[in-house]
């Protein structure tokens, strides 16, 4: 019996080899590669901006080249008195393009907002503001830009603002951040410290806001 069993195992082994050769199991598979067309998308609006529709109704961002003005006229009797002068804007942007909510109170406030889309978890987008050292009038007289500061709020908001209160430093400074795949917005109310006695005139200076992503 043992001899027969040995023989049968040998035969069965041969049969296995034949069948395996007759029925190869294909290892087919196809591969589709995917990637993001626009892995990073940024939108920044300071003051007046443009949106095609409202975001929550499938609106999309648009360009707007408007440069808004924030200003104040200091009464002659108060120049340099230290009495803080609340500034106002020529912005008409009160609503948020996110949801059409009246988030800011123009012209007293300046809308500052935007969004950051990214597929990479490499950190938030950063909003910076670059201001010159001074506001200058036609005669070359100067007022340090650090005389201008802002408070931050938003209608209906109760928590911390993404772009909190601050003071211009006459250089490039961080205003706030926008986390990945977030929309962030604040309303800034500017004020002039009025602590320097300066010659009369119109003093101007431009602040450039930049939103950059890693």
């Amino acid at each position: 019996m043992r001899a027969i069993n040995i023989t049968s195992r040998a035969v069965a082994g041969g049969a296995l080899a034949v069948i395996a050769a007759m029925s190869p199991e294909p290892s087919g598979a196809f591969t589709v590669s995917i990637t993001a067309r626009n892995p990073r998308t940024l939108y920044l609006q300071v003051g007046v901006g443009s949106f095609n529709g409202i975001y929550t109704s499938n609106g999309t961002p648009a360009n707007n080249a408007t440069v808004n003005v924030v200003s104040v006229t200091v009464p002659a009797a108060q120049v340099g008195s230290g009495a803080v002068q609340t500034m106002t804007t020529n912005s008409t942007a009160s609503i948020s393009f996110y949801d059409n909510f009246v988030f800011c109170n123009a012209p007293a406030q300046l809308y500052v907002g935007g969004f950051y889309r990214s597929t990479s978890n490499t950190g938030p987008a950063t909003l910076t503001a670059t201001s010159p050292p001074n506001l200058v009038n036609a005669n070359g007289d100067r007022i340090p830009f650090s005389q201008i500061s802002w408070t931050s709020s938003g209608n209906g908001d109760s928590g911390a603002q993404p772009f909190p209160a601050g003071t211009f430093n006459g250089a490039t400074q961080t205003i706030g951040t926008i986390a990945r795949n977030q929309w962030a917005e604040s309303c800034h109310t500017f004020r002039y410290a009025n602590s320097n006695f300066v010659a009369n005139g119109t003093y101007t200076g431009r602040v450039v806001y930049t939103l950059s992503a890693p």
Partner: protein
């Protein structure tokens, strides 16, 4: 006597192995080595341009695949064909596809197998174009990823 017994055992052993053949009722992987994506890489766009409170960070896009299946082992048999999207480490969450009519349209998620044809196999080669509509998690697609699919056949 010993010789006869050995021959009988050999026949039994072979018979027991026959179900492994592609001609028996079973599931087999289909040779789809002739299947090729028409584009090298499918470019996906954000479904919502801007982030939202609903946190829809979906990327979506479409690409076509020229499918060529070798069905020769199952010709003249009734069978069911399935598209298989194995579980894999990718951002893709769902894939819908449309066809030109030879295969069924449908949708599939990772880890699933979906019927694309049931009936007689009348030709040794089946050619079809699938247009894949791919959805992916935008938080997980930092670079190019590859999605692996294959076809399986169940013979009736």
């Amino acid at each position: 006597m010993r010789t006869f017994a050995a021959a009988a055992l050999a026949v039994l052993a072979a018979t027991a192995l026959v179900p492994a053949s592609p001609c028996a009722a079973a599931t087999h992987r289909v040779d789809d080595s002739g299947t090729l994506p028409i584009e090298s890489t499918a470019l996906l766009r954000w479904r919502q341009t801007a982030p939202s409170s609903t946190r829809d960070d979906t990327l979506e896009g479409a690409t076509a695949v020229a499918v060529r299946l070798n069905l020769a082992p199952w010709t003249d048999r009734d069978a069911s064909l399935y598209l298989v999207f194995p579980q894999q480490d990718s951002a893709a969450t769902r894939v819908r596809w449309t066809t030109q009519g030879r295969l069924l349209p449908g949708e599939i998620s990772p880890g699933e197998r979906v019927l694309v044809y049931r009936g007689p196999i009348t030709s040794p080669v089946l050619e079809e174009t699938l247009t894949l509509h791919i959805e992916a998690d935008g938080n997980r697609l930092a670079r190019v990823q590859q999605l692996d699919f294959h076809f399986e056949i169940d013979t009736d």
